[in-house]
Symmetry: C2
Subunit: 201 residues, 2 copies
């Protein structure tokens, strides 16, 4: 589970009290004003902090939203069911459920919107994708260890494919149920080419 | 290549002259004011049409942008190279190139943004996805005919996976080159599970 070079470390520039104050302010502003009223200005005012502090620490609105998003998403998106096929299907369903059933979905959509406006926001979104991909890769690694997945399979790429289909479904308003999730797990595992004995071109 | 029931047919309500006038106005407004100034109001004024006409005919800003987008995207996203693996890789590269190298990319991003605001826009985006998925499915069908793809493979789902990875890359600012495209084609075809003889669970 390696970190992408594109993820920025900003922790060293921040002190814990400021972080806590800005986070609390961000939660309060989101609660009181909703996503439409969630601006850097409003959060800075609520936190009695300068806007540059927030830009420096979080990169902008998307980074701040991502911080809230991370604190709200379920801890266990990637269960260990004992079968990698079931793990994959459960991950897809868990992620969609967290988006469709909680405030995480609207916040995530808002991050995607923001990411189309500024490079800093796009990097924040990309950093989140890198993180989920790494977590999903760790889940797939269990399948490689158990022999359910090829030792030389490109796990980050498989993980990205799984993530991307949930993102597309969310953004275009299509749900993804248990049956779809199972079909997608089958496809990632077996592909669509006729199975040949031993060769995997 | 079946049409999804979720795609709306609006042609019957529109007369060709109005369509042409609104399209020309939309192109002109986009040219003159850019995406930020591209509003239903501005297009209606330029076309000397009422805003309800545009809402009725195109659903809203996303539908109008999609109309422009469709007229600008390359005709041949899905080449027939004689090998389905090459076709898949070429499709991924062609779609990313059209997004990264032309005005189609910013327009598409703007449609995605709009789709997070209203249900009509979300349906427009979904309708576009349905269309690309159907075209990609047709491409994969050639592989099924030639024996490169299983007869009973779920082609719409494979097509959706291919599309979704390009969407995710675009939205998070990652490019997708020829090498990635080839790896993705391999993965969709062969999967990541060890190949077994004959069984494809």
């Amino acid at each position: 589970m390696t970190q992408s070079p594109r993820r920025k470390s900003i922790g060293s520039q921040r002190n814990p009290e400021t972080i806590a104050a800005v986070r609390a302010a961000a939660e309060a502003v989101l609660e009181q004003k909703g996503l439409a009223g969630f601006t850097i200005e409003a959060v800075a005012k609520e936190a009695r902090a300068g806007k540059p502090t927030i830009y420096r620490g979080w990169g902008g609105r998307a980074g701040l939203l991502l911080d809230i998003y991370q604190s709200r998403k379920p801890a266990d998106l990637h269960p260990d069911t004992g079968s990698v096929r079931s793990d994959i299907a459960a991950f897809l369903v868990n992620l969609m459920d967290s988006w469709e059933g909680t405030s995480a979905g609207p916040i995530f959509r808002s991050i995607v919107v923001e990411a189309q406006q500024t490079a800093a926001s796009r990097n924040a979104l990309d950093g989140y994708f890198v993180e989920v991909i790494a977590e999903t890769e760790a889940m797939l690694s269990r399948g490689a260890a158990s022999g359910e997945i090829c030792k030389d399979a490109n796990l980050p790429q498989a993980a990205e494919m799984l993530l991307s289909i949930t993102v597309q479904r969310l953004l275009s308003g299509r749900s993804l149920g248990v049956k779809d999730a199972g079909l997608m797990a089958d496809m990632i595992l077996s592909g669509i080419a006729p199975q040949t004995n031993g060769s995997s071109s």
